[in-house]
Symmetry: C2
Subunit: 149 residues, 2 copies
Amino acid sequence: MEIREILEAFRQYIKDKGLRYTKQREAILKAFLRADGHVTVEELYMQLRKKHPGIGFSTVYRTIKLIEDAGLATRLSFDERAERFEKTVGTDHHDHMVCIRCRRVIEFESPRIERLQTEVADKYRFQILSHRLEIFGLCNICRPHKSLV
Amino acid sequence: MEIREILEAFRQYIKDKGLRYTKQREAILKAFLRADGHVTVEELYMQLRKKHPGIGFSTVYRTIKLIEDAGLATRLSFDERAERFEKTVGTDHHDHMVCIRCRRVIEFESPRIERLQTEVADKYRFQILSHRLEIFGLCNICRPHKSLV
DNA sequence: TATCAAATGAAATTTAATATCACTACCTGC
DNA sequence: GCAGGTAGTGATATTAAATTTCATTTGATA
């Protein structure tokens, strides 16, 4: 999905909700799409200031929520103070392994896990809208190696 | 595992770390084990005040972390402001489905998902210490039913 | 183009979580 | 059992994320 199409989808979403498509909202979405990985609102705001010094903090907060509601972002929670967001378009769905020592984040995909989730949800007649699988532990660099013992 | 045994395990953990086993720590662990479901630190504190009015807020925070470190509690994050904790002993490991409308939380077990997680982790030589799978969506009561359309 | 509600931005506020620090009490060695 | 040092506690202050408030601006429609 091209950037242009994503912007258009966002505009459409906003319109459908009876809201207004503003410069700020577009700028924030663009910056968010450009940002890599998992950004906090703070980080996004800092990035935005460079090109759009006038933009307000609250607006970034408000807009990231809109973007999330539109299904273009996912909220992550790596046990930090601030929440992080990542884009859901352009990349396949994936989950995260977080190294609790070096804080590195490894992304992985597992269609089989996804399928099992759907099975479980069906059993409970639960309609999945999103999910979040976070594995915490030690990455291959930080874990104790046998050879060192 | 009986309460008495859990307390003993906690004492042992604390001792092994060269820390001190205090009345407060015991009281907090007891209250936590008694509390049902998924409590916030705030809720736990309120509960504790009834029996132990002198107990401090900071101590509850500090101790819940200790309990977590000891492997007796898991940190949850249901996209709320405050974090929640649940006990990991006495119950089998499970994951959560959170209804974004009524906030109901459904617990489920899936050994198959667990196994797949282990497989993925192995592939990356990642050592799992804990994990968290949260599915967000609409529960069977809140989801739109075909019959109503 | 005028109108008006929605959106914005600056500042204030709320709230969770952490840090500080004087005082307390746990524990080890005697 | 007692003393001393030391980790723990609790009240308060502080930090930091997120939200609210409100006067002003701006987008879209009639």
